[in-house]
Amino acid sequence: MSDAVIEISGLRKSFKGEAALAGLDLQVPAGSIFGFLGRNGAGKTTTIKLLMGFIRADGGDARVFGLPTSEERAGIEIRRRLGYVSEDKELYPYMTVQQILRFTRGFFPKWRDDLEQKYLRLFELPPNRKIPDLSKGMRSKLMLMLGISHGAELLVLDEPTDGLDPVAIRDMLRELVAIASSEGTTIFFSSHQLEEVEQIADHICIIDRGAAVVSGSLDDLKAQCQRLRIVLGEELRTPVQWGEGAEHVRQDGRMVEIFASRNADAIADRARALPGASVERFPVTLKEIFLANVRGN
């Protein structure tokens, strides 16, 4: 995909013999709001660290803006064009808001004064307050602002709403949407808060045990996946071949529930062919897609 801002293929990384990433494939289209989902420990933060150049991959390829993340010079150019918010939202504890703005500004010749002023006002960040005296929500906003104000084409956010109260979450999501629509910034964020992702993302990828299990446009996924509830005339004695796409088939007496990842029509037809069957079809939420695709303990 030529207009993919982030392109990852076959990415592998192990820590002390344990595989954190086992061949990850991922493409983030330009201008999208991309939700990167997974359970804790599935490999989200490792992926982000690899994109940022904090760690090096054991194998595979990762490119941002078409540049390889594994090379130092390319890495510097990548970081000049992106903004980053870390999981901990930690900044220098001895600086004030104003100081860190001045500090960061020095690294980016294309600093946008207009955006700095706008967000300083909008986020209500007191310029002379020391960073440790800011709440986590305000630190998150500050870090976001540092990325936006240098005109980043891509924002890489590691669990941006983690630890935030509902008001701060709403503000953060709203600003992400606003910056995406006004500047065309691509937004790549990891989360395990499915509701937020469902709200603002147009593309997602679900990672489980170091590999992508689902990825693509959220609308398309929701259109394809369905939940079928079948009530049969009599209990099934022999197992039924429901067909491709039928997953997580659960049976309880004369009721059968199927999660269809595709071919819902064919599966429904198959169901209706059974004696006395009535079929109900329900749309699925992102939560159901997620739970159906990641393996539990």
């Binding site: 940022m52 870390s86 999981e87 500090f103």
Partner: protein, 231 residues
């Protein structure tokens, strides 16, 4: 920009420098003027102190004392992630921090030398300005080796005190091992004491060069270590 940050990190270290200065002054005052025998011994001991204390101050300048400079532990000082997310090479981050600390180390040495010379009457009458300057150059050259050693340790030892412990251990080892002491031009402690310009009126260039050369190598090694490190 990194300089500005470093400065903010080290403002409080001046107190430490003043303390050290007082110590040196008291020491010198008590032992009158060189080349009194007790003065020589005292200076020898102080050479060891020279090796360690300015480096600690300087390291604080490199951000190591108040917060581990290159540490990125979750929940404490994960600010290294922010630094690494900026469009700067790791070498530049290291070099800026290390050089700032080195400047502070050298400034401290200059301050101590200069103030002691100005304050202690015995020194002022017996040692010309050129002599103090030569002494300062010798000491700062010799101390550089130790300073950059602790910088190297700081790139991979994450606890706050480990780089100091490492550096002090190596310094103590160098001071006490007779073999090392016997190679005259390598013994930096000697260079800062008996062989120092205070007594010989010439700068022990071999020792200074050896120390500075080692310092450069250590800085480069630190750069490589930091480059390869995973956060």
């Amino acid at each position: 920009m990194l300089w500005f940050k470093g400065w903010l990190e080290t403002r409080l270290r001046a107190l430490f420098g003043i303390g050290m200065c007082l110590f040196f002054i008291l020491l010198v005052n008590r032992h009158a003027t060189p080349p009194a025998a007790t003065g020589q011994r005292a200076l020898g001991t102080f050479a060891f102190v020279w090796a360690i204390l300015p480096s600690m101050t300087g390291l604080a300048g490199a951000g190591v004392r108040t917060q581990p400079a290159f540490q990125a532990i979750k929940g404490q000082h994960g600010s290294m992630y922010f630094t690494l997310s900026l469009p700067v090479s790791r070498m530049r981050i290291l070099a800026t921090r290390a050089m700032l600390g080195w400047i502070e180390t050298t400034a401290l040495i200059a301050f101590v030398c200069g103030t002691a010379w100005a304050v202690v009457p015995g020194l002022r009458t017996n040692v010309p300005v050129a002599g103090v300057a030569a002494y300062f150059l010798t000491v700062s050259g010799c101390v550089s080796g130790f300073y950059f050693l602790s910088v190297l340790f700081a790139t991979f030892l994450d606890a706050q005190w480990l780089p100091f412990a490492g550096m002090i251990s190596v310094a103590a080892l160098a001071w006490s091992l007779p073999k090392l002491s016997s190679l005259p031009f390598l013994n930096v402690f000697q260079a800062m004491a008996l062989s120092s310009p205070l007594f010989t009126h010439i700068i022990p260039w071999a020792s200074v060069a050896a120390s500075v050369g080692t310092a450069v190598i250590l800085l480069l090694v630190a750069g490589v270590v930091l480059q390869r490190r995973e956060y």
